[in-house]
C-alpha cells in the first residue's frame, strides 16, 4: 500500500515535468551501465553553448540511421530548475522524442566528474558506452569523420 501511495504521489510530478528527467549523482551509474546490445550515446549539452544543438541534431540523425543499435540520451548540464528553457530548446531543435535528462545536483562539477573524470565540463561532449563495456569521450561539435566512427561496427 505504502509503495503504491508513493508511486501515485509521484505520478503527477513526473507527468508535469514532461519528458525531461533529473539526473542526480545516484543516477549516474545506471546511465553509464553498458547497454544490453549496441551502444548508448550520452549527449551532454548546455543552454549556453551555440555548438550544442547542431551536434544533438547530428547525433539524432545517426541514431535514426541505426535505431536498433544506438540508444541516444541527451543530458543538459544546466540545473533542472531551468526545465522550461531546456525543454523549449530541445523542442526547437527537434530533439523532443529522445530521452532527456538535466542536472539535479547541488554541485554540477561533481556530476561532471562522476560521469567522466577526464572531462573538464566543456560542451558539447559525447560519451559512447558500448555493450562490451568500452567507452569513449569526444569534446566539441563532432566532425563527419568522427560521426562515422561513432556508428555501430558492421
Amino acid at each position: 500500500m505504502k509503495r503504491w501511495l508513493a508511486l501515485l504521489l509521484l505520478m503527477p510530478a513526473i507527468a508535469a515535468a514532461g519528458s525531461l528527467k533529473p539526473l542526480a549523482a545516484a543516477d549516474v551509474s545506471a546511465l553509464l551501465a553498458p547497454p544490453a546490445h549496441g551502444e548508448r550515446l550520452i549527449a551532454l549539452w548546455a543552454l549556453d553553448c551555440a555548438y550544442c544543438e547542431p551536434n544533438l541534431q547530428a547525433l539524432a540523425q545517426l541514431q535514426q540511421a541505426h535505431p536498433a543499435a544506438i540508444e541516444l540520451v541527451t543530458v543538459a548540464t544546466d540545473d533542472i530548475a531551468n526545465l522550461d528553457a531546456i525543454e523549449k530548446r530541445l523542442q526547437a531543435a527537434g530533439m523532443a522524442a529522445f530521452p532527456a535528462r538535466a542536472y539535479a545536483d547541488a554541485t554540477p562539477e561533481r556530476l561532471n566528474y562522476l560521469i567522466d573524470p577526464d572531462w573538464g565540463g566543456e560542451t558539447p561532449r559525447v560519451l559512447v558506452i558500448r555493450s562490451d563495456g568500452s567507452r569513449d569521450g569526444f569534446s566539441g561539435e563532432l566532425t563527419a569523420k568522427q560521426l562515422q566512427t561513432l556508428g555501430p561496427k558492421p
Partner: protein
C-alpha cells in the same frame, strides 16, 4: 474513500513538488567578486533577485555589512559559471561595478556599469557601456582601472560574427571589444575591437602592467578551432592594440570550454599566467607569457578534476588557486612558488565543500595573499600565506 484520498493527494502534492523546483532557481547564483580597497577593507559583489549587491567587511570576511543594491531597478544578471559581477576601485575611493545583462534571445547580453562616488552608499543608474545595441552577445565583461584612474572594460562581442554570417562568410568564434572612461565612469569612449576570433564563452583576465596600463589575456580561436590564448595591452592613447598568440597547447574544440585564463603581472614585468586545456588529459598550466612565442617556464599545475584557476604575484612569490573536484565534492587547492614561478611546491587543500562553489579568486593586500571562495554555504576568505 481511499481512492478519493489518493486522487486528492496527487492533485495537492504535485503543485508543491513543482513549487520546490521553482524556488531552487531562485537561490542566488555563485558568481561573485571580492576585492580589497586601498585601506584594506574587503568588498564583495554578487547578484540576487535581479540586483547586483555590494557588501563590505572589516574583519576579513567573517561578517559583512547589509547589502547595498547597485542597480535600483531589478534586471536579469549573468552570475553563473564564467560570468560574475565585477568590482574595482578608483584612486579617489570610487567604486566601480560592472556585469553582463542577459537579453531575451539565447547567448545575448549587454555590458552594464554603475559607480559610487560616496564610498558605496549610493550608485548611479546603470548604463550600457557599448554603443552597439543589437541583441547579440556583449558579455563576459572584465573590469580594471589603470594607474591614471581610467576605467577599462573589455568583453566578448559577436557583432563581427553576425556581420560575417549576414554576408555569407565563415567566421569562427566571437571578438573582444573594449572601451574606457577618462572621467571616473561618467562617459565611455566608443568601443573598439581588440581582437577578432576570440572564444565565445570564456572569461577575460585583466591585469595592470608596470607601465600603468591594462593588459588582457583571453582564449582565442586559431586556425580550425584551435582554442589557445592571446595577450594584448589595451591602448587608451588612440593607438591600435595588437593581440598576439601567447599559448600553443593546440587544443582543438568546436565547442565551449567555459574556461577562461588568469593573469598577474609582476613589478618586473613578468607575465605570470594560468590556463586550461584538454588536448590530452585536462590540465591547468602555469607559464610566463612571451607573446608571439611559447610561454617560458611552462609547467602543469593540476590535472583531471581541476578548474578555474586564478593567479597572484607579489615580489618573487607566486600563488595559484583552483577548484579540484572528485566524487566527494570540491576542494579549494593552492600551490605557491618562492622563486618567481620557476618551481612550485606541492598542492595543498585550503578548504573543502560539499555545497556548490564559485570560481576562486586570489586577493593581495599589504603583502598578504588570500583566497576568496564563494560557496552555496557561504563566502569564505582564506589566508594563503605572506610574501617573504
Amino acid at each position: 474513500m481511499r481512492r478519493t484520498l489518493l486522487l486528492w493527494l496527487c492533485l495537492t502534492v504535485a503543485p508543491v513538488l513543482a513549487h520546490e523546483h521553482m524556488t531552487m532557481a531562485q537561490e542566488p547564483p555563485l558568481g561573485a567578486t571580492a576585492a580589497f580597497d586601498a585601506h584594506g577593507r574587503l568588498w564583495l559583489v554578487d547578484a540576487g533577485d535581479g540586483h547586483v549587491r555590494l557588501r563590505h567587511s572589516d574583519d576579513l570576511g567573517k561578517t559583512f555589512s547589509a547589502p547595498v543594491p547597485v542597480n535600483a531597478a531589478p534586471e536579469p544578471i549573468y552570475a553563473e559559471g564564467e560570468n560574475r559581477p565585477k568590482l574595482a576601485f578608483g584612486p579617489q575611493g570610487e567604486i566601480y561595478v560592472s556585469w553582463s545583462q542577459p537579453r531575451a534571445r539565447p547567448w545575448t547580453g549587454f555590458v552594464r556599469f554603475a559607480r559610487s562616488l560616496d564610498g558605496g552608499a549610493h550608485f548611479t543608474a546603470p548604463v550600457t557601456v557599448h554603443h552597439d545595441r543589437a541583441e547579440i552577445t556583449h558579455r563576459f565583461d572584465a573590469l580594471a582601472v589603470d594607474s591614471s584612474g581610467r576605467v577599462v572594460l573589455a568583453w566578448v562581442d559577436k557583432r563581427d560574427q553576425v556581420a560575417a554570417e549576414a554576408a555569407g562568410k565563415p567566421y569562427l568564434g566571437a571578438a573582444v571589444y573594449y572601451t574606457w572612461s577618462s572621467d571616473r565612469g561618467a562617459h565611455f569612449e566608443p568601443e573598439r575591437a581588440l581582437a577578432q576570433h576570440s572564444c565565445e564563452c570564456c572569461r577575460i583576465a585583466l591585469a595592470r602592467t608596470p607601465q600603468g596600463g591594462v593588459a588582457a589575456f583571453f582564449r582565442a580561436v586559431y586556425g580550425d578551432n584551435i582554442r589557445d590564448h592571446a595577450y594584448a595591452v589595451l591602448r587608451t592613447d588612440g593607438g591600435t592594440s595588437h593581440a598576439e598568440r601567447a599559448t600553443y597547447s593546440g587544443w582543438h574544440i568546436a565547442g565551449c570550454p567555459h574556461h577562461g585564463p588568469g593573469l598577474a603581472i609582476g613589478n618586473d614585468g613578468t607575465r605570470h599566467a594560468v590556463w586550461y586545456e584538454a588536448s590530452g588529459k585536462p590540465t591547468i598550466w602555469y607559464g610566463q607569457l612571451q607573446p608571439g612565442q611559447r610561454a617560458a617556464h611552462a609547467q602543469a599545475i593540476a590535472s583531471a578534476g581541476a578548474s578555474h584557476a586564478d593567479i597572484a604575484v607579489h615580489g618573487t612569490t607566486v600563488w595559484i588557486a583552483w577548484n579540484q573536484v572528485d566524487a566527494q565534492g570540491d576542494a579549494l587547492m593552492l600551490r605557491h612558488s618562492d622563486d618567481g614561478g620557476l618551481h612550485f611546491g606541492p598542492p595543498r587543500a585550503l578548504a573543502n565543500s560539499t555545497a556548490a562553489v564559485g570560481s576562486p579568486q586570489l586577493l593581495l593586500h599589504d603583502g598578504h595573499a588570500y583566497a576568496a571562495w564563494n560557496t552555496a554555504s557561504g563566502f569564505r576568505l582564506l589566508p594563503v600565506g605572506d610574501a617573504p
